[in-house]
């Protein structure tokens, strides 16, 4: 019950923050509403038992990206009220297109039976294999009488909900403790994420070097005839 209440509170906060980002014209207020929306999305991640992802969302988005955006606002502000208003016609057209797109998306989401669709996925054991040794030991104690391995795995799954840090870390190292590789369909669907992790690491390094190169302090070059632009 409390989970439903929290879901509705944070869902309304996330959607309302996103709508307010669109509706306001002042860039600093847009940044504030963006913080509200992103923080609520992080709370939704916690409600979805994705604890590491919620923490990463708070740290990287709310703590990093939004601060970067606010610095961008400060470095490019040309006046105290730095609002570049949208013309009303553009706003009306954009709103109409947005409502149509939202209608299409919501109607298509509502018309799909998601339980049937997820049942059609390749049968992968939803219960994670016992990675956490303490939980495994606890499961052994609890089910020492019944001895049913399936019940043991289910118990570990319920106990392990939300503890995704170790599994994600092992997944980025190329190991998948939550999947049994022999039970896959042979298409490599249960592989780890070692190569994408390395690629994204190098990508991040290249991007940061490039951003520092692009934004470096340099003397402004004013070509002739372009001063009337400002």
């Amino acid at each position: 019950m409390i989970e439903q209440l929290l879901f509705w509170v944070f869902a309304i906060l996330a959607c309302g923050g996103a709508v307010a980002v669109v509706a306001t014209h002042n860039v600093v207020r847009m940044a504030f509403w963006l913080v509200v929306s992103l923080g609520s999305v992080a709370a939704l991640f916690f409600l979805l038992h994705a604890d590491f992802l919620g923490a990463a969302q708070l740290l990287i988005y709310v703590g990093g990206t939004v601060v970067l955006l606010v610095f961008g606002v400060m470095l490019t502000a040309s006046g105290p009220y730095n609002a570049i208003p949208t013309s009303p016609a553009e706003g009306i057209v954009g709103g109409a297109v947005g409502f149509l797109l939202l209608f299409v998306l919501v109607s298509s989401i509502g018309s799909v039976d998601w339980t049937e669709v997820s049942g059609r996925l390749p049968a992968v054991p939803a219960a994670p294999y016992l990675v956490d040794m303490t939980l495994a030991a606890k499961a052994d104690e609890s089910f020492v009488n019944t001895g049913s391995p399936r019940a043991k795995a289910e118990f570990a799954a319920t106990q392990q909900q939300g503890r995704t840090v170790r599994q994600l870390g092992l997944g980025f190292l190329g190991l998948r403790p939550d999947r049994h590789l022999a039970e896959g369909d042979g298409k490599g669907s249960a592989s780890g994420y070692f190569l994408p992790f390395e690629i994204v690491s190098v990508h991040l390094l290249v991007v940061l070097i490039g951003a520092a190169y692009l934004a470096r302090a340099k003397r402004r070059v004013v070509p002739e005839g372009s001063m009337n632009v400002g």
Binding site: L105, A211, G230
Partner: protein
Amino acid sequence: MGDIGLSQYLMVGAVLFVCGVVCMATKRNVIGVLMGVELVLNGSNVNFVAFSRYTPLGLDGQATALFVIVLAAAEAAVALAIALNFYNNHLTIDVDRGNELHG
């Protein structure tokens, strides 16, 4: 207040996505366009995590969402550097002014 299922989270993701698209299309400030991109990526992240919770996809959705977060941070850094360069050259941040290549 019904049960919270997959479709409720997908609705939240859809609202975030549409708001981001409208923000990208209508804002004339470069920073506003960037905020629209962030909203779109967040809507996709909500979908990824919801699918990883309510379907047997397991941890794949969360791993993909982490990659999306990292790429969004990288994109914000590069786009802000470009915006600063644009401001240095044009003394404005209005995207409608960046029409020098207009034919």
